[in-house]
C-alpha cells in the first residue's frame, strides 16, 4: 500500500500549479492515499505482454491538406481577455 504524505501532495500541487494550504494538503493526502490504494487492485492482474490502449478507434495520424485558412478576427479573440492594452494581453511581472 502506497503512503501519500502531506509533503508529496504539496509537491504534486506545485507541479499542477495549485496553491494549497497545509490543512488542505493533509486532507487531500488522506483522500488521495485512499484512492490510490483502491487503484492498486489493478496489481492483481497479470498484464505481461498486453499492449496498452490509448485510443479505441483504429485511427492514426489524421492529416489535412497544408493550406492556410483565416483565423478569428483579433477583436473577437480578445473579447474574453480581462486585462489588455493596445491589442495585447496583460500579465503580471514575470521576474521578481
Amino acid at each position: 500500500m502506497a503512503k501519500i504524505t502531506k509533503e508529496e501532495v504539496i509537491e504534486v500541487a506545485h507541479l499542477a500549479r495549485l496553491a494549497i494550504t497545509d490543512e488542505e494538503a493533509e486532507h487531500f493526502a488522506e483522500q488521495l492515499e485512499a484512492i490510490t490504494n483502491a487503484m492498486e487492485l489493478l496489481n492483481e492482474l497479470d498484464t505481461e505482454g498486453v499492449e496498452p490502449t490509448t485510443h479505441v478507434l483504429p485511427v492514426v495520424n489524421v492529416l489535412r491538406e497544408d493550406k492556410a485558412s483565416p483565423g478569428l478576427p483579433i477583436e473577437q479573440v480578445m473579447k474574453n481577455v480581462r486585462e489588455q492594452e493596445a491589442g495585447h494581453v496583460k500579465v503580471p511581472t514575470i521576474l521578481d
Binding site: I4, E8, V9, V12, A13, H14, L15, A16, R17, L18, A19, I20, F28, Q31, L32, A34, I35, T36, A38, M39, E40, L41, L42, N43, L45, T47, V50, E51, P52, T53, T54, H55, V56, L57, V59, V62, R64, L72, Q76, V77, K79, N80, V81, R82, E83, V89, V91, P92, T93, I94, L95, D96
Partner: protein, 489 residues
C-alpha cells in the same frame, strides 16, 4: 400547459395543423422553466430573448423546408460552447466566459432548426455523479427534490424529466449521460466514441468524452442523435462513417436477437431493486422473442480503478489550459506570474477538480507512470477485449445502469470513493468506446431505475431497436414527476 410531455412528432403535428406555432411552444417552454426553476435549478443561463426572436422568424419558414426537429426547444450542457451565451462548465474559473464560436453540435442543432433555450448545470468540468460539484447551484431530482439528479449531466436529465424541455444534450465520460438519465427516469444515449464531433466540447478526458442526447422517448433520442452526429475535420478523432437513419431502426422486432447478461453487473454492491427491475425487463424482451443468456465480462471490476487513473491523467493535462490569462477567472492576489497561476487555479477550481488534477499529475509523474498510467492502459485493453469477445456472440449486452436509485443531496459529498462507485456499471462502456443507452425500467420508492443496453461499435441502431421495443411494451416512459410546492402543472 399544452405542449409539455409531447413528443417531437406530436409537436410537429400540432404545428402542421396550425393548432400551435413555434412561437407558442417557445413561449410556453419559458413559462414552464420560470415556474419550475425555483424547485429544480437545472439551468445556469437562459437564452430567452434570442430564442423568442428565432421562434417568430422560424414560423415564417415554409413547411416543406422543415425537418422533424425544426422549431423545437433544446437545452445544452454547459461544457458545450455556445457563441455569445455564457459557458462555464459549472466552474468559477470560467465565470463570465463568453465563447467566440459554436461547438460543431451547436451548429448542427441550428442547421436542424432547433432553438437553444439555455445552458444546463453539471458537475464542474463533468467530474462528478450528483451535480453537487457545481460552483453555482445544486440541481434537484424532479422525482424527489431532496435527492440528486445524478451527474455529471444532471441539469440536462432533470430539465427533460421536469418537462422544462423535451430535448437536451449531455456528455458522457464515465456514465455522465446514462447515470443521470437513470436517476431522472429519462432516455440517455452515449454513442460510440467518434460518432459525434467533440469540437467545442470542453475537454475532460479526451479519449473517453462523448456528447449524446437526453430525451423522454427512444424515438426522439434517435432523431436527435441523427441530427448531431457525423464526421468533422475539426475533430481528428471523429469517425468518417456514414450517418444512418436511426429512427428507421425502430421496428419493434427483437425476434431471435441475442442478449448477453453479464453476471458481473449483478454482483455485490448492486442493489436489489435494480436487479429485480432488470430481470423483469429481460422477461419482457424474452417474451418478444429475444434470446437471453448469462455471460461474463471478467475484467469489469477493474474498470473503475483504470478509469480514474486514465481520466484523471488526461484531465490534469487538459485542464492546464485554465491559467487566467486569456479568458475566465483571474485572481486578485497576483504576485509574480507563478503566484498568479497558482492562485487563479486554486481559487477557480473546486475540490473534486483539484483532486483529479492532483491524482492525474501524480499518476503521470516520473516513478509512478508505469505503475499507474501504463498499467491502467493495459487493463483498458483487457476490458475492451471483454466486449469484443461478447459482441462476437451477442447483439447487445444488458444490465442495470446504476447500482441504486438516486441518493440524498449531501449524502456522499467529500467521500470520493463512495461517490465513484456510482459509475461501476457505466465506466466499462467508456473504456471500450462502445455505445450504450439508459431507458426507464421501474421505480424504487418513487425514484426511477434505468436499464442499460450496450451495443457493438457504431451499432447504435440495434441499441435503439431493443430500447424502443422494450419501451413500447412498458409504460415507465409515460410517468412524469409531480413536482411539489405549487409548481405549474
Amino acid at each position: 400547459m399544452k405542449f409539455v410531455d409531447k413528443t417531437s412528432a406530436e409537436l410537429q403535428e400540432l404545428i402542421h395543423n396550425k393548432e400551435a406555432t413555434i412561437a407558442d411552444i417557445t413561449k410556453e417552454t419559458f413559462e414552464r422553466i420560470h415556474a419550475l426553476e425555483p424547485h429544480v435549478d437545472a439551468f445556469l443561463a437562459l437564452n430567452e430573448d434570442e430564442a423568442t426572436r428565432q421562434a417568430s422568424e422560424m414560423d415564417e419558414v415554409p413547411f416543406g423546408e422543415r425537418g422533424p426537429l425544426f422549431g423545437l426547444p433544446i437545452g445544452v450542457k454547459d461544457n458545450i460552447v455556445t457563441e455569445g451565451l455564457e459557458t462555464t462548465c459549472s466552474s468559477r474559473i470560467l465565470e463570465g466566459f463568453n465563447p467566440i464560436y459554436n461547438a460543431t453540435v451547436v451548429e448542427k442543432l441550428r442547421a436542424a432548426g432547433m432553438i437553444i433555450v439555455g445552458k444546463l448545470n453539471m458537475d464542474e468540468f463533468a467530474m462528478g455523479s450528483s451535480n453537487e460539484n457545481s460552483y453555482y447551484k445544486n440541481t434537484k431530482n424532479p422525482w424527489n427534490l431532496e435527492t440528486v439528479p445524478g451527474g455529471s449531466s444532471g441539469g440536462s436529465a432533470a430539465a427533460v424529466a421536469a418537462g422544462e424541455v423535451p430535448f437536451s444534450l449531455g456528455s458522457d465520460t464515465g456514465g455522465s449521460i446514462r447515470q443521470p438519465a437513470a436517476f431522472c427516469g429519462v432516455v440517455g444515449m452515449k454513442p460510440t466514441y467518434g460518432r459525434i464531433s467533440r469540437f467545442g466540447l470542453v475537454a475532460y478526458a479526451s479519449s473517453l468524452d462523448q456528447i449524446g442526447p437526453i430525451t423522454r422517448t427512444v424515438e426522439d433520442n434517435a432523431r436527435l442523435l441523427e441530427a448531431i452526429c457525423g464526421h468533422d475535420e475539426r475533430d481528428s478523432t471523429s469517425a468518417n462513417i456514414e450517418v444512418p437513419n436511426f429512427a428507421a431502426a425502430l421496428t419493434g422486432d427483437v425476434e431471435g436477437l441475442r442478449i448477453g447478461v453479464p453476471k458481473e453487473y449483478f454482483a455485490e454492491g448492486v442493489g436489489e431493486s435494480s436487479i429485480k427491475a432488470v430481470k423483469e425487463a429481460l422477461k419482457v424482451l424474452e417474451g418478444k422473442g429475444a434470446i437471453v443468456e448469462e455471460i461474463s465480462l471478467p475484467h469489469s471490476k477493474y474498470a473503475l480503478s483504470a478509469y480514474y487513473i486514465l481520466a484523471s491523467s488526461e484531465a490534469s493535462s487538459n485542464l492546464s489550459r485554465f491559467d487566467g490569462i486569456r479568458y475566465g477567472y483571474r485572481t486578485e492576489k497576483a504576485g509574480n506570474l507563478l503566484d498568479f497561476y497558482m492562485n487563479t487555479r486554486s481559487e477557480g477550481f473546486g475540490d473534486e477538480v483539484k483532486r483529479r488534477i492532483m491524482l492525474g499529475t501524480y499518476a503521470l509523474s516520473s516513478g509512478y507512470y508505469d505503475a499507474y498510467y501504463k498499467k491502467a492502459q493495459k487493463v483498458r485493453t483487457l476490458i475492451k477485449k471483454d466486449f469484443d469477445d461478447a459482441f462476437a456472440q451477442y447483439d447487445v449486452i444488458i444490465g442495470p445502469t446504476t447500482p441504486t436509485p438516486a441518493f440524498k443531496i449531501g449524502e456522499k459529498v467529500d467521500e470520493p470513493l463512495t461517490m465513484y462507485a456510482n459509475d461501476i456499471l457505466t465506466i466499462p462502456v467508456n473504456l471500450a468506446g462502445v455505445p450504450a443507452i439508459s431507458v426507464p425500467c421501474g421505480f424504487d420508492n418513487g425514484l426511477p431505475l434505468g436499464l442499460q443496453i450496450i451495443g457493438s461499435y457504431f451499432d447504435e441502431e440495434t441499441v435503439y431497436r431493443v430500447a424502443h421495443a422494450y419501451e413500447q411494451a412498458t409504460d415507465f416512459h409515460k410517468k412524469t414527476p409531480q413536482i411539489q410546492e405549487g409548481a405549474a402543472q
